[in-house]
């Protein structure tokens, strides 16, 4: 499968801050890649380097096989971008903005189709300054799709969207994937990343610290599982001190919870103890770490 985006070892420094320190990743056709990281991790700089908003100090960015640094306009012809905060002239209308932006591209989607797709028909001829945050975000998405891009870059696309608009956006992204396009998505919404993305790249302090599918990142993480038990009668938490490999023991009435990296081993020690004291387990929950916890843990480790 050919890569729609290939980022190789890009570095970017702003004064004393090394915003990107050798970041590499790629996105294949028909793939959605999530770029995750805390604020200041380097996500925005990476997106700006790809989109041509800033020039990396070193490294290469290839969009559909085109060197984006050497031939920025050719690369831009193939990509669509929705920035986290898109601003346009106060008096421009969505219809005018779509028509104007579209005029710069060789291939373009009909204005009416985009207005319809992003539910902007009712506001098509209203000035930008009168649009709500959600309407502005929908317009930003419409502008990102104006040239039928092969590579779509969405920077925090859900910010400000209501649930319906969010579903529409996600549907458009999936549609693009099914059509063989590639999507780069930055988001702080881990659930969205888990649902939408085929692969995730976690950036921290300008470096890629993890990469893989959401499931593999979660399963491969060294984060613990939280086990909760409802016991009858209740158990003195001190009794659990003899069990190896558990931590963060908490007791709240009949409910006892602890964290462990190996649930089987912990339960194998716990059940004989409960049997010896005639304590019954009425409920048992084991919750693997969430993506958010995994990402947070990855950043803490680095």
């Amino acid at each position: 499968m050919s890569a729609k985006l290939n980022v190789r070892n890009i570095r970017k420094r702003y004064g004393a801050v090394q915003a990107l320190n050798g970041v590499s990743f790629h996105i294949d056709a028909g793939e959605i890649l999530g770029l995750l990281g805390a604020n200041g991790a380097g996500k925005t700089t990476a997106v700006e380097s790809i989109a041509g908003l800033c020039e990396p100090d070193s490294g290469t960015v290839e969009v559909c096989g085109i060197d984006a640094c050497r031939h920025p306009n050719e690369a831009k012809q193939r990509m669509g971008l929705a920035l986290s905060a898109t601003s346009l002239q106060d008096k421009i209308t969505p219809r005018e903005a779509i028509e104007n932006f579209g005029s710069f591209y060789r291939h373009r989607v009909r204005t009416e189709a985009l207005l319809e797709r992003f539910d902007l028909n009712g506001k098509a001829d209203q000035p930008f300054e009168t649009l709500s945050t959600g309407q502005r975000q929908r317009l930003a998405l419409a502008l990102a799709f104006v040239n039928e891009p092969e590579l779509l870059i969405l920077d925090e696309p859900s910010a400000g969207l209501d649930p319906d608009a969010r579903r529409n956006m996600q549907a458009s992204v999936r549609e693009m994937k099914e059509g063989g396009g590639a999507v780069l998505l930055t988001t702080h919404d881990m659930e969205e990343a888990r649902q939408l993305c085929d692969r995730l790249v976690v950036i921290h302090l300008g470096r890629v610290v993890a990469e893989g599918s959401p499931a593999s990142l979660i399963s491969g993480s060294r984060t613990t599982t939280t086990v909760s038990l409802r016991l009858t009668p209740s158990l003195d938490p001190q009794s659990l001190s003899s069990i190896d490999g558990i931590s963060a023991v908490e007791c709240n009435g009949a409910i006892v919870s602890f964290a462990t990296a190996d649930v089987n081993r912990a339960l194998a020690q716990l059940i004989p103890l409960l049997n010896s004291r005639a304590i019954a387990i009425t409920e048992l929950h084991a919750q693997k770490a969430t993506l958010e916890e995994v990402v947070s843990a990855l950043m803490n480790q680095n």
């Binding site: 989109a51 306009n73 831009k76 920035l83 898109t86 601003s87 104007n100 502008l143």
Partner: protein
């Protein structure tokens, strides 16, 4: 690229007309300036005609050095340019659309001003096409500077501050709102390094002067070249230093923008153009414009100019010789050697119909039936009383005597002593009739008209004795106006007493 550029220009124009602030700054303020100028120069007979250069330059200055950078910086602050940078186009293309749009707005604003000025009595510009060219070149110069301000300023308040730093000095010591002639020498030197004076001079020359032709053509073309140099260098630096994003720092390339101003200022200095007289804004006419095109051919010696006409009271053999005329004569006009050699045919050949209208800007004369305003009656009376005893009017040489009297009419014109200026020639004419024999006066006037640079101009420093301002050191224009009045008074004697 072209369709997107045109689309962008059309869109920018539409957006501008939707913005109340843009309309206020683009059209209301220039109209207020126009009314202010009209009020300031309310006593001038031809409203605003002599200040069109200043007025239109102020309009361009405001739109290009405030409106343009304010729009660019405001959009940059709000992230609009950042979004445009993601488009597959260049800074030049995006800026090109913005600059062309601003030019169109300036142009419409200028047209509105001219229309309003003409509605309140200003005559139509004499050279509309040349005016369009001068206005456009001035717009390029100021938009180049406006672009540099936009690239230098971090935010809109900084644009206002930088704009004022350019606007006010340009108005006061840059030759825009205060005429160069009334500025001290140091200010005239300073003004040579800024575009204001060139814009005012070039535009004025096209409104009331000779446009891109005539005796000031070289000067006007120099003004246009100066504006073009300043504008193109500044615009190139501005495009090179374009900042899409507030995070970008001003580029060192902006320093290059001063090169245009520097080169122009030095060229003005070294070509001796720094010291401008007010009068240079006006057209200098050429005597040959009013002379007949007929044989015999007049050249610089008698042998090549056999006159077919019999001079009055002199033989043709005395032969014409050209006496250092200021302006080139028509090759085949007659040129008598002395005033006595002037013939009736010479006078009859003058194309009086080509003279500027008596009601115009150049060499105006009141009609016989016109009554002076009461406010100038005393001044005219004083002049009437002073003329007979004025020492230069008692010169033994009748030609010099007439010439000296004509300087009185000329100084009122070049000093724009409205509403007095058009009545002074009538008083002078009356005095000439009293002091010169009726049969000689036409011949002397004709002779003076053909030899505007002859004779002494010492009398121009004694005009204060008549209650008029003394003449400038450079008397070329004064002599030129004396020539015009010689033609016009000659016309009054020979054609119609109250012509035009």
């Amino acid at each position: 690229m072209m369709p997107s550029l045109l689309r962008q220009i059309a869109l920018n124009v539409r957006l501008n007309f939707r913005s109340r602030m843009a309309l206020i700054y683009g059209y209301l303020f220039p109209t207020i300036f126009l009314l202010a100028f009209r009020t300031l120069y309310r006593h001038e007979r031809l409203p605003l005609a002599l200040h069109a250069g200043e007025l239109l330059t102020v309009t361009i200055l405001g739109g290009a050095c405030f409106g343009l950078p304010t729009g660019i910086v405001s959009d940059r602050e709000r992230g609009v340019w950042r979004r445009y940078k993601v488009l597959p186009t260049s800074a030049l293309s995006i800026l090109g659309g913005t600059l062309v749009t601003r030019y169109l707005l300036l142009l419409t604003s200028g047209i509105l001003q001219l229309a309003l000025a003409m509605a309140i009595g200003m005559p139509a510009p004499r050279h509309p096409l040349a005016l369009w060219a001068a206005f456009s070149v001035a717009a390029i110069a100021f938009m180049g500077i406006g672009l540099d301000i936009a690239m230098l300023a971090a935010n809109v308040p900084a644009v206002q501050a930088l704009g004022q730093c350019i606007f006010l000095p340009m108005l006061i010591v840059g030759g825009v709102a205060v005429s160069l002639a009334s500025l001290p020498a140091w200010a005239q030197h300073v003004s040579a390094f800024a575009p204001g004076r060139y814009a005012v001079e070039a535009i004025q020359a096209c409104v009331t002067g000779a446009g891109l032709t005539g005796s000031r053509a070289t000067e006007t073309r120099f003004d246009l070249l100066a504006l073009l140099a300043i504008g193109l260098v500044a615009a190139a630096a501005g495009v090179r230093a374009f900042r899409w994003d507030t995070r970008q720092r001003p580029s060192p390339w902006l320093a290059a923008s001063v090169l245009g101003c520097l080169a122009t200022g030095l060229a003005t200095e070294f070509s001796g153009r720094v010291h401008s007289e007010t009068v240079q804004r006006e057209e200098q006419h050429n005597a040959s414009e009013y002379l007949p095109v007929h044989t015999p051919t007049l050249q610089t010696d008698a042998a090549t100019s056999p006159s077919e006409q019999q001079p009055i009271g002199a033989s043709a053999s005395s032969g014409p010789t050209v006496s250092k005329p200021a302006t080139a004569h028509r090759a085949n006009a007659t040129d008598p050697a002395t005033w006595q050699d002037v013939t009736r045919e010479d006078i009859a050949g003058v194309a009086f119909e080509r003279l500027p209208a008596d009601t115009g800007v150049v060499a105006p004369i009141a009609g016989i039936s016109d009554e002076p305003d009461p406010e100038i009656a005393d001044q005219l009376q004083q002049l009437q009383s002073a003329l007979p005893s004025w020492q230069p009017g008692k010169s033994g040489d009748p030609v010099q005597r007439v010439r000296n009297y004509l300087y009185a009419a000329a100084i009122a014109d070049v000093s724009r002593m409205d509403p007095l200026e058009r009545f002074v020639p009538l008083v002078v004419f009356e005095q000439l009739r009293k002091s010169i024999a009726a049969e000689n006066l036409p011949k002397i006037l004709y002779f003076i008209a053909l030899h505007p640079l002859d004779g002494s101009d010492a009398a121009v420093q004694r005009l204060h004795e008549l209650g008029l301002p003394d003449g400038p050191e450079d008397t070329r224009l004064l002599r030129n106006r004396a020539m015009m009045y010689a033609f016009k008074l000659l016309g009054r004697i020979t054609v119609a007493p109250d012509a035009k």
